[in-house]
């Protein structure tokens, strides 16, 4: 039933391991840098934040650097996780179908007694491999690391943040998937997906607090706030549900487009 998904998932194991190791290492660096950073600046730490250009601090969600939680929420989670990992999923999604079309592999797949909808859904499902790897390794590293340096982060908050970010990363992958069934070249789909996701991310952060803030409502990053989770313990479950529903709609859109597509 899920033979294609399992086949595709096996192809992703190595990449997922590399991504998890890289991001885990990245997270460790942040965690170990923080005590030195906090000690050297002491009570003046939030003055540094005020010196950040406003647009920049908004873009990277800098609210407070006076605690490990605030530091990680902005530096690790807003920048590395939401932006970089988000783009990684957008990129991976972009190649899901388009790469097979570009290299003619799709013919072999379509000749199998498997529906086009299944091909799209099972390929997308294979993204669960890197998603799971990252969502297990990174919080584990952060939890253990912050405890080791004496600034432990609340495990429940950390777990909640990672659970809430799953719909966010799924929607990034789904944006890539839609591009992947629209374009016949992987590079075009990847670029379209990266452009859309990066554009939405920065547009949302820049529009917040302006008269055009409502326009940022289409950006996925509007619906995930690491600061609220780690600093205030606020879990926006409704926002995550909204993201999940939107990811489902994008997946359905990709299926619909691919079912009508002429593979030439």
């Amino acid at each position: 039933m899920t033979d294609l998904a399992r086949f595709e998932a096996r192809q992703r194991v190595r990449g997922a391991a590399v991504a998890a190791a890289a991001l885990g290492g990245f997270a460790l660096v942040y965690v170990f840098v923080y005590p030195t950073f906090a000690d050297s600046l002491g009570a003046d730490i939030d003055r540094l934040m005020e010196a950040y250009p406003e647009a920049l601090s908004k873009a990277f969600g800098v609210e407070s650097l006076a605690s490990m939680e605030g530091f990680l929420a902005s530096e690790l989670y807003t920048f590395a996780w939401m932006l970089l990992v988000g783009l990684y999923f957008g990129y991976a999604g972009g190649s899901l179908v388009a790469a097979d079309v570009e290299h003619g592999r799709i013919d072999m797949l379509l000749s199998l007694p498997i529906s086009r909808a299944r091909i799209v859904v099972e390929k997308f499902a294979a993204l669960l491999v890197p998603l799971t790897a990252l969502s297990v390794v990174v919080p584990a590293v952060v939890w253990a690391g912050t405890a080791a340096v004496g600034h432990p982060v609340d495990a429940a908050d950390l777990l909640a943040l990672h659970l809430l970010s799953i719909p966010y990363l799924l929607i990034c992958g789904a944006v890539g998937l839609v591009a992947s069934v629209v374009f016949d070249r992987a590079s075009h789909a990847e670029r379209a997906s990266l452009g859309a996701l990066a554009g939405l991310f920065f547009a949302e952060s820049l529009l917040t607090g302006t008269d055009y803030a409502a326009a940022g409502a289409v950006a996925p990053s509007r619906y995930l706030d690491p600061n609220a989770v780690l600093l205030d313990g606020e879990y926006a479950v409704g926002d995550a549900a909204l993201l999940l529903a939107a990811a489902g709609i994008l997946l359905a859109l990709a299926v619909g487009l691919f079912r009508r597509k002429d593979i030439e």
Partner: protein, 336 residues
């Protein structure tokens, strides 16, 4: 219920009408050759049959199932094998892993037997495969689930002659077991041995479907005769001779027929250097005539017998010339 029914199939790409009202039927147990020059629209028909693209007009059925209805198409695909013109697999997996995926989805009752015949290196990553090995892997996956119908797009491209013969023997044996086959090619000689019937496509239109035996009778032979004499095209003025061209050589200098009289010294100038070959050329003029022959072979042999032949070459006419002669816009008038 025929294996394949194509009715008025038209595929319009906007700038090109790749298929224009194509209709044909492939019966159960029949091996049907779908022939035409490159760019004629063979692959377009095949891709439509496989449901990769939808027809602009017309309909197609595989084993009785309408290919434009996905549920019906899936039912058909369980019993259909397919080999694309340029088979491509995931390059990062081994041949075995690629076959395992196909097996999991469509079955592999005949995998081992096929691997004995076509022998791709199963444990090597496909990225390291040669074109021939990819083609072998493609053939294995096309037949491994013991399909009732196999659609092969240019199956013999990329196969060495030995393997091509093995493929031909295999298809012959499968036909005996009742397999239906549609295979495309732009080279008639490669597929005539295994096809019962062929359809010929030209610029998107099916110009004819006929039995191979009849087609071969009509396509004629390409005849190349080297005569030890100075003759002109009139020497082969027979019924069934087309496009006769003669070229006379006197001495060791290459001259065309019209120039043959006005340079008598050329041969003498090279006598010593040319040795035996030159000596033979100087014994008299030699004429090489080439033409396509569609008439009675006895009449041709009688006519050839009137000349002293230095060389004679008779081969099957290339398909492209056949197209031009019988189905081309100019050729249509003089094909009587």
């Amino acid at each position: 219920m025929p294996a394949i029914e194509v009715d008025g199939l038209t595929k319009d790409y906007g700038s090109v009408r790749a298929n224009d009202g194509v209709s044909f039927t492939v019966e159960r147990g029949e091996v049907f050759g779908y022939l035409g020059p490159n760019g004629a629209g063979k692959t377009t028909t095949i891709r439509t049959l496989m449901g990769f693209q939808s027809p602009t007009h017309g309909s197609a059925r595989l084993l009785g199932h309408d290919v434009t209805d996905e549920a019906e198409l899936l039912a058909a695909k369980r019993r259909v094998g397919y080999l694309p013109a340029r088979p491509a697999f995931d390059e990062t997996v081994t041949g075995r892993e690629a076959l395992d995926l196909h097996a999991a989805i469509k079955g592999d009752e005949r995998r081992e037997e096929l691997l004995d015949r076509f022998t791709p290196p199963l444990d090597r990553e496909i990225r390291a495969y040669s074109t021939g090995n990819v083609q072998k892997l493609g053939l294995v996956q096309a037949f491994m689930h013991d399909p009732d119908l196999v659609i092969l797009d240019e199956p013999t491209s990329g196969l060495d002659p030995l393997l091509q013969r093995s493929f031909n023997d295999f298809v012959d044996a499968e036909r005996e077991r009742g397999l239906s086959v549609l295979l495309s090619s732009h080279v008639l000689s490669e597929v005539r041995r295994i096809c019962d019937r062929v359809g010929i496509l030209r610029e998107g239109r099916l110009v004819t479907t006929e039995r191979v035996a009849e087609l071969l009778g009509r396509t004629g032979k390409l005849v190349r005769a080297t005569v030890a004499d100075d003759v002109d095209t009139g020497a082969f003025d027979l019924d069934g001779v087309h496009d006769c061209a003669c070229h006379t050589t006197a001495g060791s200098d290459n001259r065309s027929e019209g120039e043959a009289d006005d340079a008598p010294n050329d041969g003498a100038g090279r006598t010593d250097a040319d040795g035996e070959a030159g000596a033979r050329a100087r014994t008299g003029p030699v004429t090489e005539c080439q033409f396509t022959y569609t008439g009675d072979v006895n009449a041709l042999v009688d006519r050839l017998d009137e000349h002293r032949l230095l060389d004679l070459d008779v081969e099957e006419a290339p398909l492209d010339e056949v197209f031009l002669r019988f189905y081309g816009s100019e050729g249509a008038d003089d094909s009587d």
